[in-house]
Amino acid sequence: MLFVHRVAPHGRRLSTYLKASPTVQRLIREHGLSEVPLKGSGPKGTVTPSDVQAAAMAKQMVDEAALLPISIDFKPMVGHLLETSSLPTSATTNKKELVEYYKKMYTMRRMEIAADVLYKGKFVKGFCHLYDGQEAVGMGIEAATTFADSIVTSYRDHTYQFTRGSSVAQVLGELLGKYIGPAKGKGGSMHMYSAKNNFYGGNGIVGAQVPIGAGLGFAHKYRGDGGVAFTLYGDGAANQGQIFEVVNMAALWQLPVIFVCENNQYGMGTATHRGSFDTEYHARGQYIPGIKVDGMNVLAVREAVKLAKAHALEHGPVMMEMDTYRYHGHSMSDPGITYRTRDEVSGVRSARDPVQLVKNWLTQYELVTSEEIKSIEQAVKKEVEEGVEAAKAAALPPHDELVRDIYFQQGGLEPRMCNL
């Protein structure tokens, strides 16, 4: 039974379909049952206080069940300058968390697939680098951090913009160059940001974001705000000189920076061992501790990030390597099968898919019914579809945005143009 709360002109809520007196309605709101369909057992099917009590008790049982701890093991982590025995081998979680992770990761997956379709339909201009396959890394970092921590990453950033607070419609809007996008449509796929939630993008030039991350770490330490900076880069970028420059700085000044190498096995079309002499990316920081994690397991990532964060705040920089995989090619211009076989891609998909892993836990531990999973998936698909439509329908940025935001408070510094 659906019902709608409508606010009357004088401010009092009226229930349109639910037969309940105002007192009972207040009871419903107090127990947080506004979204729950209630059965009325009173005369003419009205809802009585005892109905509300019964529903509240049932809800409380469900909520408590959702918080029952479950322990799940994962593949052991590898430490560099860290004792392996100090590294976690399992995570404690519960239904509530796993449902949340599944929802978010499934949204990330569907959003990237929607981006693929939009690109092929020529709605997205320019370049488009997709994250599907790597969702456990983004979700794991999100699960172990707050918006008080900073994140900066490369051009494979759509899902980070999502986990850092933007809606699917806004992310896709930025891809389409629309005004609703986080960069007003001026950044596109590779340049999405959120100042409010400490997300520094979104960077097109390989490796250039890593020194920025060190600066963010310095700012956290300077302000003493208890935050940590995560600076993410890929296996291809791992050979950039500027990374080693700032690892040195971070170590010298004990900055709370976590260098995260998202090793998806290929730098564009070059396999790791063909581009890097040393492929132990977690150990490339040499004199700073490193952790290598199974990047396809969201719980493993979460636990490793928690550990790294605690270490970074106490002792200084840490280098992490997320052992992950991308299903798409480097970008939408790369079919992704000239340097690896289709069998390899489908093999990873069937054996190690990060979203499927969470779904398996939900079923294996009998946390949700298959109907509940289906309804979660339907809701996510609907959200993504609506996001696509909203992005397509949104307006382009006005033309004068071409000359805005070059300098601080430009007035008087209008850029020259050659016009008709």
């Binding site: 320019g126 590779m190 070059t270 945005e401 050659c418």
Partner: protein, 363 residues
């Protein structure tokens, strides 16, 4: 004096022996050695560049081609089938390290190698600027000619491509033209790409060779299959005219010629010139042309402030002041970072160039 006259697409440039002195100003002209070697074949610009690399590797045992994904054939397929013919010691994949690979090339060239480097997009050349501007450009000068890196050539796909955005569309020629010791070259089509690239590789100075990537497949022409060079430092007069001199380079040449065609329909006779080499630029040809027409327009994609059109305008107003009938017009990209969504507003398109031609001609 018209060096090359393009009548239609696919027209073959004839081999001409230059006379020693210019008939207009009696200054010494550049001599050219344009020998069309044998038959020609229809080629796209990227195929012509591929062919130039092949010729260079065949004729020079010290030549090595390297860059990101170069041995795979390159992201634009400019280095296809080279590693199969010349082996992995001569066609190398580089990790993502622009500064490193250019420095590596400088080292090779310093001991006499012919280092043909590729920077995957001209937008990525900036990490290597120290190596290019501080090391390569000054190598000969600072050692009093003990050493040089004349064997270094850096190729980079450049300029707008329709959807490139901030980091796949830039034209950075002005930054490098500003550094003495470097040469900067910008071909306009398949034929000039192969000839100029071979000349750049063989030139005994470090050369930066920008390739207009939007023309990689779009520019198709008859290109000699053999070995030939086109002279560096020589501008090409594409059509003779008497009312206004129009100068451009790279892909913008085609925008300019279309605008000139529109102006011709209005009765304005345009002399369209492809500068081809940005540094050192052919002052003689431009000067001679402006002395004839009295009006000059320069157009490029790069932003207005500090763009290379400023250098041309300043030189010409200095040397041809009495001949000028109108202010020199510059039609360029806007002074903004190269935009993603607003590319059409930003670029100096055909209408903007045509409008400036008309205003300058009617001044």
């Amino acid at each position: 004096f018209v060096r090359h006259k393009m009548r239609a697409a696919g027209f073959l440039h004839g081999a001409r022996r230059a006379r020693h002195l210019c008939s207009l100003c009696h200054r010494r002209r550049f001599t050219t050695a344009v020998e069309i070697a044998g038959e020609t074949q229809k080629m796209t610009m990227v195929a012509a560049i591929n062919d130039a690399l092949r010729v260079a590797l065949r004729t020079d045992p010290a030549a090595v081609v390297f860059g990101e994904d170069v041995a795979f054939g390159g992201v634009f397929r400019a280095s296809m089938n080279l590693v199969e013919e010349f082996g992995p010691e001569r066609v190398l994949n580089m990790p993502i390290n622009e500064q490193g690979l250019v420095g590596f090339g400088i080292g090779m060239a310093a001991v006499g190698g012919t280092a043909i480097a590729e920077v995957q997009f001209a937008d990525y050349i900036f990490p290597a600027m120290d190596q290019i501007c501080n090391e390569a450009a000054k190598f000969r000068y600072r050692s009093g000619n003990e050493f040089d890196v004349g064997g270094l050539t850096i190729r980079a796909p450049a300029s707008a491509v329709g959807h490139g955005g901030h980091y796949h569309s830039q034209s950075p020629e002005a930054y490098f033209a500003h550094t003495p010791g470097l040469k900067v070259v910008y071909p306009r089509d398949a034929y000039t790409a192969k000839g100029l690239l071979l000349a750049s590789i063989r030139d005994k100075n470090p050369v930066i060779f920008f390739e207009p990537k939007i023309l990689y497949r779009a520019s198709v022409g008859q290109v000699p299959v053999g070995d030939y060079e086109l002279p560096l430092g020589k501008a090409d007069i594409l059509t003779a005219g008497k009312d206004i001199t129009c100068v451009a380079w790279g892909a913008q040449v085609h925008v300019m010629t279309k605008a000139c065609a529109r102006a011709e329909a209005d009765g304005i006779s345009c002399e369209a010139i492809d500068l081809a080499t940005i540094a050192p630029w052919d002052m003689h040809t431009i000067r001679t042309s402006v002395k004839k027409t009295g009006r000059l327009l320069v157009t490029h994609e790069a932003p207005l402030t500090g763009g290379f059109a400023g250098e041309i305008a300043a030189t010409i107003q200095d040397e041809c002041f009495d001949y000028l009938e109108a202010p020199i017009a510059r039609v360029t990209g806007a002074d903004t970072p190269f935009p993603l969504a607003f590319e059409k507003l930003y670029l100096p398109d055909e209408l903007k160039v045509y409008d400036a031609i008309v205003r300058t001609a009617n001044y």
